[in-house]
């Protein structure tokens, strides 16, 4: 560090930015890369059960596992068809 920059120090504190960005991207990639094998089966069976009662197709149910801090969140998203006009 030169004399000038020592007295008029103008270094940016970028480490905290790095940490913030990493924690977001790592959480995201863990969610997508470490999907356990049972998810496709779970999705198939859910479709089978739900379609007994409502008319849903395979694309209307999304199953996702997300990791946040120390807990895992299983997210099931079901899009119900619009009510048929009577």
């Amino acid at each position: 560090m030169s004399l000038l920059s020592y007295f008029f120090g103008s270094k940016q504190k970028t480490a905290s930015v790095a940490k913030e960005r990493l924690s977001l991207i790592i959480a995201h990639e863990r969610g997508t890369n470490r999907t356990p094998d049972f998810l496709p089966d779970l999705q198939r069976e859910l479709i089978a059960v739900i379609s007994k009662y409502v008319n849903v197709g395979p694309d209307d149910i999304k199953v996702q596992l997300e990791k946040q801090d120390n807990c895992e969140i299983l997210e099931v998203n079901i899009t119900l068809p619009e009510q048929p006009q009577k």
Partner: protein, 271 residues
């Protein structure tokens, strides 16, 4: 039973080979019969770092293909009697590594009475890197305090947890250790570099040590002497501590706090 340890990282140039050379030397200095295998097929370097490049005759691929036996291919280290190097092939490519071939080499090393087998992984997440970690009992994940290195370490952890034999067979998982290397306490203090605590918080595996950034590493590699041999240097001390912790001894972390230089040094610069 031989313990298989992979030194891995995903990213290249973070210090895997430097670490493999020093830790295998450290284990041998503790009296364990140790082998260190270069898995970087096509880009062999461990031989240079260990200083045995002129004694390479046969390599890992020759052994895998049955063109040479282990005793012919293993090179005895010039410093330690109980340390042996198995170099990578310089001319073939990574597809020459087969799972069966690697498994047989590891089994044969075990029959020869080795206590520890270190696998120096190539960069990347392709065949060479996967072969190096497939049979691991423990993993030393080398990470620099820098965004791309940390992200790649997390990726390689995912691969360890899905593609290692231990994971596939549902056995006790590979024991993971985080080693942060090329660490500059001053830059951390200035808020320019991730701290080792940041890295550990992000990767969430136990820390086995922190190796400082040091010019001595280049001096060591110039001479073909693993850095752990550099008497009284910070890097050597840090690596000796890592080996001790690996053997379950308690060692406080060193070289992680920045010590302010005196006023004169600050005014006139220099190191």
């Amino acid at each position: 039973m031989a313990r298989v340890i992979v030194v891995t990282s995903g990213k290249g140039g973070v210090g895997k080979t430097t670490t493999s050379a020093s830790i295998s030397t450290g284990l041998a200095l503790r009296g364990f019969k140790t082998a260190v295998i270069d898995f970087d097929v096509g880009l062999r370097n461990l031989d240079l770092i260990m200083g045995c490049e002129r004694r390479v005759v046969y390599d890992l691929i020759n052994v895998v293909n049955g063109e040479a036996n282990l005793n012919q291919a293993l090179i005895k280290d010039k410093h330690c009697d109980n340390l042996f190097i198995l170099p990578a092939s310089q001319t073939r490519d990574k597809d020459a590594l087969t799972e069966e071939g690697v498994e047989k080499v590891l089994k044969d090393l075990e029959h020869l009475g080795f206590d520890y087998i270190l696998c120096d992984s190539p960069a990347g997440i392709e065949r060479g890197a996967v072969m190096a970690l497939t049979f691991a009992d423990e993993a030393i994940v080398v990470s620099n305090p820098e965004v791309s290195s940390v992200r790649d370490s997390d990726r390689i952890l995912g691969i360890l947890q899905s593609k290692s034999r231990r994971a596939i067979e549902g056995r006790e998982p590979v024991k993971e250790h985080l080693l942060v290397t090329r660490y500059s306490p001053k830059r951390v203090e200035d808020g320019e570099m991730l701290s080792y605590k940041d890295v550990q918080e992000l990767l969430r595996i136990p820390l086995i040590g922190v190796i400082p950034e040091s010019d001595d590493v280049l001096q060591a590699s110039n001479q073909g002497t693993p850095a752990i041999h550099l008497k009284d240097s910070d890097v050597a001390t840090a690596y000796l501590d890592v080996v001790a912790r690996f053997l379950d001894e308690d060692r406080p972390l060193r070289f992680v706090a920045y010590e302010k230089p005196g006023l004169l040094k600050r005014l006139f610069g220099g190191k």
